[in-house]
């Protein structure tokens, strides 16, 4: 972080203290931006960390705000950071008790797109993970119903990946209407 913060010597947030005490081996990096603690967590321990954040009585991040992913394949600086992990799955958490937010990021390599599902912890994760699967092709292991949600079932590709063009490719060929006109 910047030098200003080091001069002020802000106390370490509780979530970081507790994670460093209990899940130190899972943490790859951490940061605090604009009041939100951001932790990057190893994929193998991601479920354990999220479960801990949810169930620990002092932290109580009971509300899973959002699950999404970022395709870093066109962002060299990010890609370099975690051993060329192409995707970053992002969980936004909120604690009603502490009224604070946290962001958990999990690097996912392109050659192994599996990541444990958190549907057992939060029922709301179901559709959020389905959307992430639909848009990025991340495979959530243990998800009860991992189908596409926004795109049609027979759709090829994952539209929010950076190698997917803005105007799509190939969809129009399936319409007979276009073929007749051509």
């Amino acid at each position: 972080m910047s030098e200003e913060n080091q001069v002020e010597e802000q106390p370490t947030p509780l979530i970081l203290q507790k994670l460093e005490a209990n899940h130190a081996d899972a943490l790859l990096a951490h940061d605090e931006t604009r009041g939100t603690v951001v932790v990057v967590v190893r994929k193998e321990q991601a479920y354990a960390v999220l479960e801990y954040l949810k169930t620990d009585p002092e932290l109580a991040y009971a509300f899973l705000v959002d699950v999404t992913a970022v395709d870093n394949s066109q962002m060299e600086s990010e890609l370099m950071q975690f051993d060329y992990a192409r995707f970053m799955v992002v969980y936004q958490l909120y604690s009603y008790q502490g009224q604070c937010r946290a962001r958990v990021k999990v690097p996912v390599h392109e050659n192994d797109l599996n990541i444990p599902s958190v549907t057992r912890l939060w029922q709301g994760a179901n559709w959020l993970e389905r959307e992430t699967y639909d848009m990025f092709g991340i495979h959530f292991e243990g998800h009860p119903d991992l189908r596409r949600i926004l795109m049609p079932d027979d759709f090829d590709g994952h539209p929010l990946r950076k190698d997917y063009p803005l105007r799509g490719h190939g969809e129009r060929e399936r319409f007979n209407f276009d073929k007749q006109n051509a």
Binding site: V65, M75, M135, L166
Partner: protein, 398 residues
């Protein structure tokens, strides 16, 4: 709600509710598995209105994207405009002028009123109360006139800009709004007399689609749907943004988390919004609505046409790769939209276009919880529950 299963006959029937149905208010679909009149299983389907807003965000610059936010929750576009630019401004580490903050609150609260009014009218219409629809649309029309005069459009408002708003309030706006908030509580009372103690309305909504506070949190419900379960959480209070800490208001909560409580919470929220609007009008600061920063906001037209510096600034703002460029980083910003937590997660690679924009829509998670509220109930309650959730297809599918 209870007894639905007891009357079951054992013969199952699959009913396709939507995507074109008068009560869905948008293209969404629920596949209901029925036994007689009781719902055994409900499977919601989304995606009929998917437009790729998140993908578009990676190709439009920060100010261009504002027009896309209009189309998310099309009942309260001003709230979406507000939430989006707030996220960009926080990413840029800038704070807009006091007057601008107040104008944005004013517009956000008026659009909350418009959103709740439309919800009220259509939810009541679905259950057969036609006059409520006419009463609420009469009031909503007054608000839309104000929006039209302020922003130039009724629906596609695109009112906010990064670092400010499109233009200052029009002459006489304060009087128009003041007149509206003075008369509105009286008008809302008419609806109260029509519905709140109405036998039919209570029978159709009380105990219907109930959800407990724990389940609501687990499902990620926010806004009026969460508050109806008794959780007094409002982002405007918990994480005050844009001068919300300078106005006082109450956060209404329900107890049972059913359709009736969601109705009561929304009704009270409208009154609270009126209170916020009055306070904003009383304390409206003078000064500029736009940030005086030539790298963020457009110069005046007279400057752009009359001075070479103005022309250069104008040029730099609108040219590709010269305009608003947040530093490399990421930010998640949540605002309390009429439906609940509307979040924008923006990842910036330092260029004029976002690297990734994620919209966290409240309706998406509300629609997901629908089976939980429907299963075991009656088929006629589907309309009541769906109406009470206020699922907006534009925001659901993005």
């Amino acid at each position: 709600m209870q007894g639905g299963l007891e009357r079951a006959t054992g013969e199952k029937m699959v009913l396709n509710f939507g995507p074109q149905h008068p009560a869905t208010h948008g293209t969404l679909r629920i596949v209901l598995e029925l036994d007689g009149e009781s719902v055994l299983k409900a499977i919601p389907h989304a995606g009929y209105l998917h437009t790729g807003f998140e993908k578009l965000g990676e190709h439009l610059d920060y100010n261009q994207y504002i027009v896309v936010t209009d189309r998310m929750n099309y009942l309260s576009p001003l709230s979406n405009n507000f939430g989006y630019v707030l996220a960009v401004e926080q990413l840029l580490d800038i704070e807009v002028t006091k007057r601008c903050q107040y104008i944005r609150i004013l517009m956000a609260e008026l659009s909350r009123l418009a959103d709740h009014l439309l919800w009220l009218g259509t939810a009541a219409l679905d259950l057969g109360a036609f006059s409520v629809f006419l009463y609420s649309f009469r009031e909503r029309e007054k608000l839309y006139s104000i929006f039209e005069k302020t922003t130039g459009a009724r629906l596609t408002t695109s009112y906010t800009r990064v670092g400010g708003v499109l233009r200052d309030l029009y002459d006489g706006c304060v009087e128009d709004v003041r007149q509206f908030v003075t008369n509105f509580p009286k008008a809302l009372k008419e609806t109260h007399t029509l519905l709140t103690k109405n036998r039919i309305w209570m029978d159709r909504t009380k105990g219907v689609g109930a959800i407990s506070a724990d389940d609501a949190i687990s499902y990620g419900l926010t806004g009026p749907c969460l508050r109806a379960t008794g959780v007094a959480h409002d982002i405007r209070k918990a994480e005050p943004y844009s001068s919300y800490d300078e106005v006082t208001f109450d956060v209404p909560v329900g107890t049972n988390g059913d359709a009736y409580d969601r109705y009561l919470v929304r009704m009270e929220e409208m009154i609270q919004s009126c209170g916020i609007v009055t306070q904003v009008l009383d304390n409206m600061p003078d000064g500029s609505v736009n940030l005086e920063d030539n790298k963020i906001t457009m110069p005046n037209k007279s400057d752009a046409y009359g001075h070479i510096e103005g022309l250069i600034h104008h040029f730099k703002i609108v040219m590709d790769g010269h305009g608003v460029q947040p530093p490399i980083g990421e930010h998640y910003c949540a605002t309390e939209s009429p439906n609940g937590e509307l979040g924008f997660y923006i990842v910036s690679d330092g260029s004029g276009t976002a690297y990734r924009i994620r919209i966290r829509p409240p309706s998406f998670l509300h629609f997901q919880a629908l089976p939980h509220m429907l299963e075991g109930g009656m088929v006629s309650d589907t309309v009541a529950v769906l109406g009470s959730l206020n699922v907006i297809a534009g925001e659901l599918d993005r």
